[in-house]
């Protein structure tokens, strides 16, 4: 009984159905344990592997410089910056916008540096639903290759104050 004291030597190995289940459960856990590292080497979707510590002011400066030198247009007052295929782009999260709007080409690979100038933010690309965490003081580098084209939204999914639900941005992917 679970509420009484087991008497005598209660140690014994599982038998019968119980042993079968422990074995099956362990096998399943091993399958899951192997799948994750296997995908790390073979899969195309992994959590960003590069990040660096950075001074907040340095990152903000880089993001503004990037937006200015690569500016190809403007939407609602937000600059649209085209990233060179294979090159580096910057995306700054701050209360409450993602800056600048990025213009990418389908099937090209980019290194997008993401950080915050103030609070923690959550980068969420919609509608494809890709999410990474953004911390001030960390340059989080996403190496991404858009495989679909069109206009994608960026929203914030980490609470960042009262204007949190107005924090949006955009990524434009051309064919």
């Amino acid at each position: 009984m679970s509420i009484f004291h087991p008497k005598g030597n209660w140690f014994r190995y599982p038998t019968g159905a119980e042993r079968l289940w422990v074995g099956l459960a362990l096998a399943w856990c091993l399958v899951m344990s192997i799948t994750m590292p296997w995908w790390h080497f073979q899969g195309k979707q992994n959590a960003p592997q590069n990040s660096y510590t950075v001074e907040v002011s340095d990152f903000v400066g880089k993001a503004f410089e990037f937006a200015e030198t690569n500016k190809v247009g403007e939407i609602n007052g937000v600059p649209v910056a085209e990233v060179e295929p294979g090159g580096d782009g910057y995306l700054l999260g701050s209360m409450w916008r993602w800056y600048p709007i990025l213009k990418l080409k389908k099937d090209q690979t980019y290194r997008i540096h993401v950080s915050s100038s103030d609070l923690q933010h959550g980068l969420s690309i919609l509608p494809i639903n890709m999410n990474i965490h953004v911390l001030p003081g960390y340059d989080h580098v996403m190496t991404i290759t858009p495989t679909t084209s069109g206009e994608f939204s960026i929203v914030c999914n980490e609470f960042c104050g009262i204007g949190h639900h107005t924090m949006t941005g955009r990524i434009i992917v051309e064919e």
């Binding site: 087991p6 159905a17 856990c29 994750m36 979707q45 959590a47 592997q49 965490h133 639900h165």
Partner: protein, 575 residues
């Protein structure tokens, strides 16, 4: 037994179980349970307003109060309600089940004061609008110092209870108040207490420096380091919940069906796996964080988490299997699932625990392990899929199991009977059903990328417009409906408990009225007394029904897991 050496006035003999209930410990069990239910009510009211705000067609609150209510809800539910209740369990499991009085009455009072003051302080400062930082309070977001201080005081109080618990175990062992090993339920409670100490120390490491920072005495902690430490509190406390919940499963399985653990070694081994491996599972909150290497993430979420998952899968078999054996011994041998239909479904304690195990395993467990995979987390981090998962573990699992325990706690410890027993019988279904519906709504809205902790899913007022597919809004409506049903179940629970505890018919000197037929109860009693005698002997038993159930579980798990990997291939390439 050395009960003779204890003063007769220090305890009473339970009319139902024959166990000795010690008066000091009984007081602390009651006090902590009552406080738990008060904070459950506060958290529950906040929950209703949140569900009615996320429901896009209703949007009850304004933005300020929405974020305030999330902070209030998270803090009261995940910290105050659940830990107060666990403290009640620790007092019970270390005294009655070990046949000893609590180690120190003074420490009991000190912890009650610390925890109450802390909880009130934190609630006050949240409602006063000076701590709109969510439960997680990630810096650089800063709350009023009282927010951190309140949680710190509460945590110190909980640590004092854990100390009192361990001291009681030591005292019982030293005074030889019981023979052999401690009962399984106490073993599970000990597991919970050990994990609680680890969790609370992590909490101290995260929150004390943050409190100093809010006072202007220290620099801000690195936001990444804070997340790592905070989740050492945030996730480990979910493991306290799991260990306490599984102990409740075993406890109610025995009392309601006469079940006896099939194999003490396996059950206890699984608890030990929790202690050893579950700690690192906190890493799966940081899977898409900067500052941590892939190696670190994969290592901590694979080997460590999966051995803890193994433990839960073992309990998920041993609990129903022990019931199956008990039911078959009562003569319910028809077919593979005949015993399952004959389980005491009319007993709300039992049905709450059965639903708890099903919701925890099939919904909470499967989604949690899958979302805690490094790569799949890209599609889940901070979306509604996360609360969709943890409301199935911590609410449909732990809170529902604790509610089930209350259907035994009130007659056995408070010695009061329930009114409106028909309503009590449907309460677990109402609450559990509501949580399941809500969890489905959250999870499916989350697959569209709808964030958690977001006031307006239409992003009105944003400079660059965006929004979600109308189907996502339908799922937000499902979330709202489920939330309302669950709240009704919660209110019914509190109503029944309050009516019984304060105004219910006294059961002093009486047996607990059975929820089953007298004939059933007699068979259960017989099994309980018999099981005690044959403990330790080989107990080989066939459990075809439970094996069938767990195979269905494993198939559902595999389908959900691989379906998520398949969905992952639709994403852009990222690395």
């Amino acid at each position: 037994m050395s009960t003779e050496t204890i003063k007769k006035s220090a305890y009473r003999v339970c009319e139902t179980t024959g166990l000795n209930i010690f008066k000091k410990a009984e007081f602390f069990t009651k006090a902590n349970a009552v406080l738990a239910v008060i904070f459950l009510l506060i958290g529950g009211i906040a929950a209703l307003t949140l569900a009615l705000t996320r429901w896009s067609n209703v949007m009850l609150l304004d933005d300020v109060w929405y974020y305030r209510m999330i902070t209030l809800h998270g803090t009261n539910m995940l910290v105050f309600w659940i830990i107060f209740f666990e403290m009640a369990i620790l007092y019970f499991a270390s005294t009655t089940l070990l046949n000893t009085e609590v180690f120190s009455k003074a420490l009991g009072y000190i912890s009650l004061v610390l925890m109450s003051v802390g909880a009130i302080m934190t609630n006050y400062i949240i409602l006063d609008g000076q701590a709109d930082v969510m439960l997680t309070s990630y810096p650089p977001l800063q709350a009023h110092p009282l927010f951190y201080l309140g949680i710190i005081l509460f945590a110190v109080g909980a640590l004092v209870v854990c100390f009192n618990f361990f001291a009681t175990l030591y005292k019982a062992k030293k005074n030889k108040t019981y023979e052999g090993s401690m009962p399984l339920v106490t073993f599970g409670a000990t597991t919970a207490a050990i994990i609680a100490v680890v969790a609370l120390l992590h909490g101290a490491a995260a929150l004390i420096p943050t409190y100093f920072w809010s006072m202007g005495w220290a620099e801000m902690m690195d936001p990444g380091a804070y997340r790592l430490l905070w989740w050492g509190l945030g996730h480990h406390s979910q493991q306290i919940n799991v260990a306490a919940m599984v102990s409740v499963w075993y406890f109610i399985a025995t009392l309601s069906t006469g079940a006896k653990p099939l194999n003490e070694t396996v059950c206890r081994g699984a608890f030990i796996l929790y202690i050893l491996f579950i700690n690192l599972a906190a890493a799966h909150h940081l899977l898409v964080d900067p500052g941590l290497s892939s190696e670190w993430k994969i290592w901590n979420t694979s080997y460590a988490m999966y051995l803890a998952v193994l433990a839960s899968m073992i309990h998920g078999y041993t609990v129903p299997a022990s019931m199956e054996v008990a039911m078959r011994r009562k003569g319910y041998n028809k077919g593979i699932f005949g015993w399952f239909a004959k389980l005491p479904w009319k007993d709300p304690g039992f049905s709450a625990v059965a639903l708890s195990a099903i919701i925890f395993g099939f919904i909470g467990g499967i989604t949690g392990v899958t979302l805690g995979t490094e790569q799949i987390n890209i599609m889940a981090h901070n979306t509604l899929r996360i609360p969709g998962h943890f409301h199935a573990t911590v609410v449909g699992g732990t809170s529902l199991a604790f509610m089930g325990l209350c259907y035994y706690l009130v007659p056995l410890i408070f010695q009061k009977d329930f009114y409106l027993k028909k309503l009590a019988r449907i309460q677990p279904w109402l609450f559990g059903g509501g949580i399941v519906i809500m969890s489905f709504g959250m999870s499916f809205a989350g697959t569209y990328g709808v964030p958690r902790r977001l006031y307006d899913s239409d992003f009105s007022g944003a400079n660059l417009e965006t929004g979600f597919d109308s189907i996502a809004h339908i799922f937000l409506g499902v979330l709202g409906v489920g939330g309302v049903i669950a709240f009704t179940g919660l209110l019914l629970f509190i109503g029944l408990i309050v009516a019984a505890v304060f105004f219910g018919p006294s059961l002093k000197g009486k047996r607990m009225p059975t929820w089953q037929s007298e004939r059933e109860q007699k068979m259960t009693d017989e099994l309980i007394s018999k099981g005690y005698e044959v403990e330790g002997e080989d107990y080989h038993a066939k459990t075809p029904g439970t094996i069938g159930l767990v195979i269905i579980f494993l198939l559902s798990f595999a389908i959900y897991y691989f379906a998520n990997w398949a969905a992952l291939t639709d994403l852009w390439h990222i690395g």
